[in-house]
């Protein structure tokens, strides 16, 4: 490495958290969380191919309190990453960089991803109710 002793950027200790920076790091964090979640998708698909007992094993895990907590986190992560990803794609067209627009789209991402998470779980609970 050319400069191994230079400080890393940004210096988080002296940064005041702002919506823009918080959403930026949340995009990365949700990406990492979803990467872990993708392992669950593979396990689910493979268990489905193996047979009913393996599949039931996955369902037992998913429906345990630990599984439900993970699922709730992944639900928010997927909707956040989706909404903020669309925001990023808009930025790639060179639009939406005015400070007011950036904050408006940022709050829209927070609101829409929260609403979608709640809506998704309302649907899931409603469907699970119908089964029992």
């Amino acid at each position: 490495m050319t400069h191994s002793h230079r400080p890393t950027s940004p210096a988080l200790q002296i940064y005041r958290p702002q919506l823009t920076s918080v959403l930026s790091i949340t995009h990365r964090l949700t990406g990492v969380a979803l990467s872990v979640g993708s392992l669950m998708i593979v396990a689910w698909l493979v268990a489905g191919a193996i047979g009913p007992s393996a599949y039931d094993g996955v369902l037992v895990f998913v429906r345990s309190w630990f599984g439900l907590v993970l699922l709730a986190g992944w639900t928010f992560a997927i909707f956040f990453h989706l909404c903020n990803g669309i925001r990023h794609l808009f930025w790639d067209t060179g639009r939406g960089f005015a400070l007011r627009t950036i904050y408006a789209s940022g709050w829209a991402v927070v609101a829409v991803s929260t609403a979608l998470t709640i809506g998704c779980w309302a649907a899931a609970i409603f469907l699970a109710w119908g089964v029992e």
Partner: protein
Amino acid sequence: MRCYQIQIPLARARGLGSARSGASQWWAQRVTAIALVPLTIWFVVSIVPLMAAGHQAFLDWRGSRINVVLLTLFVPMLFYHMALGLQVIAEDYLRRESTKITAKISIQLACLTLTIASIVAILR
């Protein structure tokens, strides 16, 4: 090279090497992102009822040809996008060059393995 070496920015940039293949990775990340917008919505809508049902519901769902097509699209897009994203994180936060290279190789091999495992499971 020392930190305080006097160089004009261009010479320093040349010394660091150009991005070269970086632009194609940036591009691929966008292409997979665009593909994943509808595919992710389809996947979430599909998976919610399945989580409340059993194995037979899964087999019925996977038995539909359109679902097989969308799944075999979704999985490579997902893992390609995931590999690119994780690589950027490794490039940004890992400081030692050897750790960085090890991480990138692991990410690529893991994503390829997960893609193939999923597709074999889907087509079974």
